[in-house]
Symmetry: C2
Amino acid sequence: MGRVTLKTIADHVGVSRMTVSNAFSRPDQLSAKLRDQILAVADELGYVGPDPTARALASGSAGTVGLLLSDTLTYALTDEVAMAFLAGIAKELTPTGLSLTLLSATPQENVVPARDIAIDGALVYACNPDASAIDWLKRRGLPLVYVDQVPAPGIASINIDDRLGARAAAQHVIDLGHKRVAIVTAGAEGEFGIVTDPQKAAVAYPERQRLLGWFEALDAAGIKPTVVRHPHADAQEAGYSATQTLLENHSRPTAVLCFSDALARGVIRAIQDAGLDVPKDVSVVGFDDNPLAARTRPALTTVRQDADAKGRAAAAALATAIERAKTRPGGRGRHVVLPTELVVRESTARPPRR
Amino acid sequence: MGRVTLKTIADHVGVSRMTVSNAFSRPDQLSAKLRDQILAVADELGYVGPDPTARALASGSAGTVGLLLSDTLTYALTDEVAMAFLAGIAKELTPTGLSLTLLSATPQENVVPARDIAIDGALVYACNPDASAIDWLKRRGLPLVYVDQVPAPGIASINIDDRLGARAAAQHVIDLGHKRVAIVTAGAEGEFGIVTDPQKAAVAYPERQRLLGWFEALDAAGIKPTVVRHPHADAQEAGYSATQTLLENHSRPTAVLCFSDALARGVIRAIQDAGLDVPKDVSVVGFDDNPLAARTRPALTTVRQDADAKGRAAAAALATAIERAKTRPGGRGRHVVLPTELVVRESTARPPRR
DNA sequence: TCGAGTTACTGTACCGATACAGAAGAAGAA
DNA sequence: TTCTTCTTCTGTATCGGTACAGTAACTCGA
């Protein structure tokens, strides 16, 4: 005996298949009595409900949206800030009934998730801007929302004010009187080590924007920072070894601006291990306001972003984009920039006297 | 002009629809020359590839598996250990070409993800065992893998040795000479406050198992612990207020066994805020070996579980279950229990003299 | 020169639903 | 009574593919 479908039930009850379909999907289309009868028979036959795949094909919507994650899905998932972002998405998506499908940006042997998985739309997050996966999504004509990506015309995007936040961080150490400033940054790709042209070395949009912000303030103050760039991997380790590189440098910085709080933790450890004090000898500023930033010792001065709000905004933008695509095709997306804010704690102080 | 389908391309090239399908999905079924021609025409017409939904319906596989998460998806995602678990799944799943769809266990207005989303199988994680969502998955006859759930006959399951780990933790403080021991635990549901019958108060399997382990050792040593149980929410806060409750108690404990490291952090803070020292006045043992456990001060004595391995094992088990379901239907699943290990750090010591 | 075995392609029958137009009967208005 | 308007149900045409059993031509050894 084959599988139980609408037809099976229809035959049992003696109605048309369409009526059974309505019993499940459009209760207002038939009498309550008949509906109950149909549901009873369906239950008896072990019918679970309309097959999701068939329904998706016929109705044209899959009920789930994709989240395209950086090449190594793993990296995105081990970061506390990314987690808050994910939680934000989930929170906003749940009431809409949409589920979230994690899409790896790296194509597999025969499967390219961005091309082969049924979704109604997608969030593009923390991806190398020229990842082929993004192209697939675009070609499919799916509603998209870019998050932390270069905003593109016609595509909704959610960003945070990386540039302003970074500028505030730099201005903060300038105001404290620092003259010798270093920048510690990280990325998945690009040039690494002590880099002379950071804008060339950096690939990801947030990193470029933060560099822009830092340099804006430093340039205006006539300060030329040393920039050390490390591959992502373990952020703390990256921060640690970057700092070792820095400290070997002939002119030791009195302030270090970091791309992330995770990086900053490594930086602080390295400074302490070198027998120096934070903030007495060296000031350190992070970025993100990771939940841990307030708890480390010394508590970290950093630039706050609300990753949860970012997630919620992204999900909301996608939900409306999908809704709109059903009626008016080809609407254009709004570009949202969420605020960032400098949070001064204990890891920054005036530079040492001499 | 409608959408571009296999038919459109077939008509343009002058071949059958089936040949076009083969050009995409079974390259070995046609000559390389014709295939190239078809692909070229397809590209020209802006065809992206076989529609995932239609393909799923016809071929009977969706290319994605579900991860059923605790009622509040948000909670699951804010926990570092859950993150490692998720990363483990992703790592193992990626090469198989399967994607991961997050399923909320709470039914929405009209949508029940566990019933309405197209998936090839599912992981059941951190769920109230009688959540209706699990029933839906079972009724659909999907290959399932239970993680941190009561093992059920016929269903593959991955667990960690919660009981043995907890027993080791309890034995550790017993061996140090502690007599007045408290247990701080947490859960999404059940009874809260100072509970007299913990096995009744606890709902989730891991919690019950850990209680079993703690009591096994404590009973044998003739120790009757005080058990405080708090609702999940923010684990640290829970630990903090649970400890306040404890300290107000007439007989202050000299050792506290905690359900998680996150909880333990709150416990330690509360103890310190009460002017006491960890471990001099009170010893604290966590559970999980959260990446932060080693870094907090004092470094936390805890029971290690390898959440990443748990994720990988779960994904692997599901992948094979799906593979097997294609051929032999109704195979039964293996029950895997991963080891746990006591890690002694600085948060435990002999009880104070008097 | 014949039959066996390949290779390259085609035709038909699903996969399991939903959409939408329409039909039959009942209720209500004039 | 007759005409409209609901309400309730039905029929047919998709949705966009894949499976599988052919068929026709081509290769090749004896």
